[in-house]
């Protein structure tokens, strides 16, 4: 049986597609909604907003998260802002321009219909969040303020100091808790999804482990929403939270959900450089800093002078030099590669030469320290706490780090995966951002999916499908529980010599060295050989202490790393298959004479969707062709 990739795009004029589709979708009678149980995995912007909105509609909702509270989901760490085509600044913004910027920013590897809808819904999101009491920054007259972000020439980013993700998440969390208080939503924290249950070809439930007691239980439902975030931690060091993982998505892949474009992983240009081997994660400095900060390196290689003693004439403001039109506000992939190039050529600063300066001296001179403090105060404090250097006095040192994954489970226009009834929202799906995501668009997508898309499309799915009554006593649940328990027992019984973290670090280094900011065929082939070797050693030599009947954080990590060891291989396979450069996927063999990404639209204008074929078999590649009716395919230029 071959997998079918039907994108279910409504067709017709792009600005009417969503409206038309909303009308054509079937509805569930209000009295029948409470008879349907919907399982939502993850409580971040996508999961939290979906769970709250579905419960408001009257569905019976259960929401799961691995943290101790839904308010901890990693959406909370997003700093800079959220895009919306409000055109409040009268600077020429429009839905069409946000759509265009997003498709271009994604290097022409996203689906036009989805991306247009995202731009359209961006307007509703801001309205919704303001109604909830999200304290977005305001002008003195009481109107909303905006700032600029990379890849755009308009000011369309709404923000709440440097804590925009926190405030948006708390808005969704409060809406969710309101439903908990009303008894319409059951929140199940400290619980991890470990398998998806598919019955008669449809997603009918999940198997979870209670992280406190270790109990493995099943939950049956009529539809499942996976909003479990991205897989950046496959690189070990990333800006993701320590707990962020691919397990829920990966187990769904192994039950038949196609995984799309896994090699599109975003490396964020402005992160605090690594300080040593003990490092457990990397910390992002918001892209909004590039509004006022100027990026530079010394013109002289290995220049050891303190930055303040290097005169302007001996500094290379390389982004302003190479990209005069966008300057310091080029998209993330372009800025990251430019920083890597400067460091690779020996111009890097700080320990190991792995850093470039982000300098606020000119902005402080122009606007005064107080203005800079108001805009970025909390980011400057965070920088100082970590590095012990005061960015009001000396330039920040920054270096790129893994941040976001554009790839994820394949979904159609309804955000449904290749398994009917399994919907995927937020970073966990592959939609909307193509091969590179623009800054301040992740929050937009998470909330668009959760508040405004999933609540409609789930209704259509339930109204158009006949679902047999199924409960947790069904044999498929028992079989999935057995698989989960067996895997846990295996992990605990190996009793080897190495810790889980040591394997995770080793995998991360292979991924970063051979499948990071720049990739080539020889390196990818090497990684494709190394990863199965690491995996094999993991399963014969890992040491997971404790038992399965208690809070066991080493066991939690072991399960997640075992999945990263499989996903890593798929990422490399996808990167090897895509013999072009596009967005964040930069193959050294395919570049323009001046070092920019060289796409091959004739052969690679498709979504690569991988189908699991068993642990011992190569996954099958399916292609969803991408066609562009509205946006003109061109080489991306920010010069």
């Amino acid at each position: 049986m071959s997998m079918e990739l039907n994108s279910r795009e409504p067709g017709g004029p792009i600005e009417k597609q969503w409206e038309k589709h909303r009308f054509e979708m079937k509805l569930v009678n209000p009295a029948n909604k409470r008879k349907h149980t919907i399982l939502v995995v993850g409580s971040g912007l996508a999961g939290g907003s979906a769970a709250a909105s579905l419960a408001e509609l009257g569905y019976n909702v259960k929401c799961f998260c691995f943290q101790d509270s839904p308010r901890r989901a990693h959406s909370i760490a997003a700093q800079g802002g959220i895009n919306a085509a409000k055109n409040y600044q009268n600077d020429g913004d429009s839905i069409y321009r946000l759509f265009y910027d997003t498709v271009k920013g994604g290097d022409f590897r996203s689906r036009e219909s989805n991306t247009y809808r995202l731009a359209e819904i961006s307007l509703n999101i801001i309205d919704q969040c303001v109604a909830q009491g999200v304290p977005f920054a305001r002008e003195y007259g009481g109107l909303l303020a905006n700032r600029s972000f990379g890849g755009a020439q308009v000011s369309r980013t709404f923000y709440a100091r440097g804590q925009t993700g926190q405030q948006l998440l708390l808005g969704a969390y409060q809406a969710l808790e309101r439903q908990v208080g009303l008894g319409r939503l059951k929140m199940i924290p400290r619980t991890e999804m470990l398998d998806l249950v598919v019955i008669d070809g449809k997603a009918r439930g999940i198997v979870v482990r209670d992280l406190v007691t270790g109990a493995v239980t099943s939950h049956a439902g009529d539809a499942v929403v996976l909003a479990s975030g991205g897989y950046g931690n496959v690189f070990y060091l990333s800006t993701n939270a320590k707990g962020s993982n691919c397990t829920a998505a990966w187990r769904a892949y192994k039950r038949g959900a196609a995984f799309a474009n896994p090699c599109y992983t975003q490396i964020h240009p402005t992160c605090i450089p690594q300080s040593g081997e003990h490092q457990s994660k990397l910390t992002l400095m918001s892209e909004s800093l590039r509004n006022d900060g100027r990026v530079w390196v010394p013109k002289q290689k290995d220049d050891k002078r303190p930055p303040n003693q290097i005169p302007h004439s001996e500094r290379d403001y390389y982004l302003e030099r190479r990209y005069p039109a966008f300057g310091n506000l080029v998209p993330r992939d372009v800025a990251s590669r430019a920083a890597k190039k400067a460091c690779d050529e020996g111009y890097g600063v700080g320990p190991g030469g792995l850093g470039v300066y982000l300098d606020f001296a000119d902005a402080i001179k122009r606007l005064g320290e107080q203005t800079i403090r108001e805009r970025y105060g909390n980011l400057f404090e965070m920088y100082e706490r970590i590095t012990d250097e005061d960015p009001y006095k000396v330039p920040m040192r920054i270096y790129p780090a893994v941040h976001y994954t554009m790839g994820g489970l394949w979904v159609d226009y309804n955000l449904m995966s290749t398994i009917p009834g399994l919907h995927v929202a937020g970073e966990a799906n592959f939609s909307d951002h193509g091969a590179n995501r623009l800054g301040a668009s992740a929050l937009m997508q998470g909330l668009a999916d959760g508040y405004f898309i999933i609540p409609y499309t789930i209704g259509d799915y339930l109204a158009t499908n006949t679902l047999e009554k199924v409960d947790e006593s069904h044999a498929a649940f028992k079989e999935a529980e057995r698989c989960v328990e067996e895997r846990t027992r295996r992990l605990l019984s190996i009793d080897g010599k190495r810790t889980v973290d040591s394997f995770h670090r080793e995998l991360g280094k292979v991924m970063w060295d051979y499948c990071g900011m720049a990739r080539n065929e020889a390196g990818l082939k090497h990684a494709l050989q190394r990863i199965p070797e690491i995996r094999e050693e993991f399963w014969s030599n890992v040491n997971v202490p404790g038992s399965d009947a208690e809070l066991n954080q080493a066991l939690e990590k072991a399960g997640r790393v075992s999945d990263f060891l499989e996903l890593g291989e798929l990422i490399v396979r996808d990167a090897l298959d895509r013999r072009e450069s596009c967005g964040a996927h930069f193959r050294e063999e395919f570049q323009t004479p001046d070092g920019e990404a060289l796409r091959d639209d004739e052969h690679y204008a498709y979504v690569a969707a991988w189908e699991y074929k068993g642990d011992d078999n190569t996954p099958a590649l399916h292609k969803e062709p991408l066609t562009y009716e509205y946006v003109h395919l061109a080489q991306r230029s920010y010069k």
Binding site: D68, I76, D127, Q132, G142, T283, N543, G546, E550
Partner: protein
């Protein structure tokens, strides 16, 4: 540097706990406190011991999951800093460090340094929101909010729900946490219709969870990693008084 750690170990909620001593060797000043514990745990696993359970997630001071009492101070010696953002350069070679979980009857210990803070979620569920079901919101700029109002609201909304305020308070009061949400929503025009109901319900839930009362020690604001001011408690009390009187007027009329 080398450090001596005394860490609270407790197998489960009902088990008896005690301090165990560990040595942390070759600690780099650029490590975070949690990275120092990661290294200790790696050593424990390699030597056949049981690693120390502690909560953490984002490790950039915003998710509120980390929660350690360090030498009797919630989140340790650096002001305005969550445990995950505390770096070892604030300690010196030979230091002896006591590490405990949050101590409060409303935050039962789950294991070692991990506690159950679900009481906070229930306080929010009781009324810590503005009722605005998805869809149908009017244009965002049709609601004008004075810059000072939104700035004050944001100061209160910065709360990360870590529970340090409760752990630091001699009464185990959750007034800073609850007052922060009451203030955030009560300072905004959108929050006015539910202002009285909100404060009554949230305070009732706070009491039902077993948190103590506020007697103005001020320890909470000293421990708060987001430096939220006890002004929010004054606002909560003010709102509460008004709400109680308003409810009485309604009953008498």
């Amino acid at each position: 540097m080398n450090l001596t750690l005394h860490v609270w170990r407790q197998a489960g909620a009902t088990a008896e706990g005690k301090f165990e001593q560990y040595q942390a060797r070759d600690v780099s000043p650029d490590m975070s406190f949690l990275e120092m514990l990661d290294v200790v745990n790696e050593g424990l696993i390699e030597s056949g011991g049981s690693p120390i359970a502690f909560d953490s997630d984002c490790r950039e001071g915003i998710c509120g999951m980390c929660s350690l009492m360090i030498n009797g101070v919630a989140h340790g010696p650096q002001r305005g800093t969550a445990t995950c953002q505390l770096f070892m350069r604030h300690f010196k070679d030979g230091d002896v460090i006591y590490i405990e979980p949050w101590r409060s009857s409303a935050f039962p210990v789950v294991r070692d340094l991990v506690v159950d803070r679900s009481a906070f979620d229930r306080i929010i569920a009781a009324g810590g929101y503005i009722t605005a079901p998805t869809g149908g919101a009017r244009d965002a700029n049709s609601i004008l909010v004075a810059k000072t109002a939104v700035d004050n609201a944001m100061d209160a909304a910065a709360c990360i729900g870590c529970g340090a305020c409760v752990a630091a308070c001699p009464n185990g009061s959750a007034s800073l946490f609850t007052g922060a949400k009451v203030s955030h929503l009560g300072l905004l025009p959108q929050g006015q219709p539910e202002r009285h109901r909100r404060v009554l319900e949230m305070v009732a839930q706070m009491d039902a969870e077993g948190f103590g009362n506020c007697t103005w020690h001020g320890e909470c604001q000293a421990a708060c990693p987001k430096e939220i001011s006890i002004d929010v408690i004054a606002r909560m009390n003010n709102d509460y008084l008004k709400a109680v009187l308003a409810t009485k007027e309604k009953q008498n009329s």
